[in-house]
Point group: C2
Chain length 433, copies 2
């Protein structure tokens, strides 16, 4: 299929805008494989065209005149990443009326003005998408609107504010509310004025959007009762632990008896409930419905690149649902070699049964070291007629671990065949707290 | 927008096929709101047209002749829900060549024959979708192909077999492998011959599909090394617990240095890793990529209605990415009343500070009972100059709990103002183990 060139524009070129430009340019081939279209930023509206940018736009892209975007008939699609209600609202309305599809990352705009924006989009017959307005890169809006069409979702539960979840996770580990808040501010998870987050107001705006999409009835910010975590004290955390629960700031939207309820408040979450395990600055949304029982999506709920990733996903979805459509043919476009099994690196758990006498541990450790395998943790248990060694290694190639175990099996003090299992512990998210 | 009538056909009308027919007919309005199309089953290929069905097809729908589906030019879309490699493979190829888009729930067909199916779909310019082939209703294929287009996923971790996860969850609670397996069989989570599941073969087929889509390079069942849970003994579970981990059957697909590795094996998962919390027959898939850090999707990985829900999602996605497209205009189509806040039912946690003397507990319990609030659990702590009561109630309307707390606040032995927090404990999934 011939590639279609799609000129696009941005409103705003801050952290998110620059990241959108970079993702579009670095992943142009991926987007073309998925949709047959190449997206290219040709205009970006900014207040000051001379300011330094995190990712340099192509020459001539920056403009301070909105008319350059609105009146350029070649621009097929616009992403609003400037934030705030005005002038974003006026610009988005103008673009929709001019027949341009719009993607927005603007939570407050959607939570407060969807009643004028969507009719304008419908009247013009263009799409208005807003995945990035709720939980950044977690594709909950797409899943609700395009995958769970027939699942009659009747309840949405969410941890949709990373700042408060980070603070509560720290309090769980023994910190005070004040201590946890300053740590969150130091790490950039909380603003200097944290009110919007800790009061539950930010989460309430997200729950308004989720409730509207899930139940098909308008729920605005004003319809969501909210309460923050300012009054949570270590005593709550302790009591929750004794009851087998954890304190979380939970957003809840419920469809019951033809009525809708949406609220945000601290709640005690049972330890076996999937939301209890959501740690640090992560977000999670659980959707409960008739034909799906429950589906939970979890991931980073904030961040420039994560938000940009959701903006790009929406831009791709617009071109993927019109014109050529998402190309659902073969996903295969390259031939990767198979990694030789011995080369896969992982931490490993080793279980070795040995004689319980002096020197055995040294022999085992020596064989591991000879193959470059280093020990992270070790537990030794007495067994009838011997001992059982439980070793967790640092990351090492499977082949090296296998070779070390082969040597260990040959030691006279080893019983039977040592075994190994991979250990899954890295989250790739250490920075998220 | 005028509604478009879309006649569709099914290959197979067993549990999944009947559920697809029911979902399409009961949710026709939802689908039309999402896409502008009404999908209607006009033909279903079966072996015996006289057999009793779980959901009765419309008269004249059942046929035993494949040509009735293939040669009917009005049929716009076909869902293959018969399973097995043949005749499903031949039928799907014939339909694609006849220009009909196909949705399949057939894991083995995609894991083993994608190299001939996708070229046929591309040559004919029609879509072949297969969401239901991996983890039932969890929309992981759609998320990978339509939301994470630019996120450069480099690792996929999954608990993609519910049978083995159920068995390991039971073993965690103290059961033996044999005991847990028979319980799984009794509940219908495991087949009479459980080999396919417990050996890791079923999970390997799913990981082949996920690795192919995530990395864009063909990974077939034969490329996935797998090992099952047959050799896991309670000793592994105990050692894992002492190390702060849990034993899970983990599928892992890794893109490293231009090479791909896909495998399934028991692994020790750190308790803080989101996969450790996946309990019972549930599935979860974690996607790690550059611009998303990590996103996890969790939900029921099997079941007739859940699988049917994914088949319908694919059918809706086909009509939503061609013709009218997914209508991304206002999600609002009705006006639900707001539930009066006092009517929302939930279990609650109450924290009440009282004098530490005889009779106080009886007074508190009496006030709760007077408002119909019943107590599920209670913990009492001594405090300087009194006691602190921690009460978890059964489900009760917020208004009744508030009224009871108001009465309790007036008791002479109560100190300060009692507080309440909602408790989140129901998963709506009790049946999933």
């Amino acid at each position: 299929m011939a590639s279609v060139d799609v000129p696009v524009a941005l409103l705003g070129y801050g952290t998110v805008g620059a990241a959108v430009d970079r993702l579009l340019s670095e992943n142009a081939d991926d987007i073309e494989r998925a949709t047959g279209h190449r997206l290219r930023v040709v205009r970006a509206l900014v207040r000051d065209a001379r300011k330094e940018r995190g990712f340099a736009p192509a020459p001539g892209v920056l403009t301070t005149d909105f008319a350059d975007v609105r009146d350029d008939p070649s621009i097929a699609l616009v992403a609003e990443v400037m934030g705030g209600i005005e002038p974003a609202r006026g610009h988005v309305l103008d673009l929709l009326r001019a027949g341009k599809p719009v993607v927005t990352a603007n939570k407050q705009l959607i939570a407060q003005r969807s009643d004028e924006l969507f009719p304008a989009a419908s009247a013009a017959g263009v799409q208005l998408r807003f995945e990035a307005s709720v939980c950044a890169a977690i594709p909950v809006i797409k899943v609700l609107r395009e995958a769970l069409v027939v699942s009659s979702v009747h309840r949405v539960l969410g941890i949709v504010n990373g700042t408060t979840n980070y603070i509560l996770t720290r309090m769980e580990a023994g910190d005070t509310y004040e201590g946890a808040l300053s740590e969150a501010q130091r790490l950039g998870f909380a603003e200097a004025d944290p009110t919007e987050d800790v009061s539950g107001a930010d989460a309430a705006a997200k729950m308004a959007i989720l409730a509207t999409i899930a139940f098909g009835s308008r729920v605005t910010l004003a319809d969501v009762d909210f309460e923050g975590i300012e009054r949570i004290v270590p005593g709550h955390i302790v009591a929750a632990r004794e009851l087998g629960m954890a304190v979380k700031l939970v957003g809840q939207a419920t469809l019951a008896g033809g009525a809708v309820d949406a609220r945000v408040a601290p709640a005690l979450v049972d330890r076996h409930h999937p939301l209890a395990g959501v740690e640090g600055a992560f977000n999670a949304v659980m959707l409960q419905g008739d034909s799906i029982r429950e589906i939970m999506l979890e991931g980073p709920g904030a961040g420039g690149i994560e938000t940009a990733s959701a903006v790009v996903a929406d831009m791709v979805s617009i071109v993927g649902t019109q014109g050529t459509g998402f190309l659902q043919n073969d996903a295969v476009w390259r031939t990767l070699r198979k990694l030789p099994p011995g080369e896969l690196e992982s931490p490993y758990y080793l279980r070795i049964e040995v004689d319980d006498r002096a020197g055995v541990l040294a022999h085992v450790a020596e064989r591991l070291a000879a193959h470059g395998v280093s020990v992270a943790r070790l537990i030794q248990h007495g067994l009838a007629g011997g001992a059982s060694l439980h070793v967790v290694t640092h990351e090492a190639p499977a082949g090296a671990v296998e070779a070390a175990l082969g040597d260990i099996a040959l030691l006279p003090e080893t019983h039977g065949t040592p075994t190994r299992l991979a250990v899954i512990s890295d989250r790739g998210v250490a920075a998220a707290g």
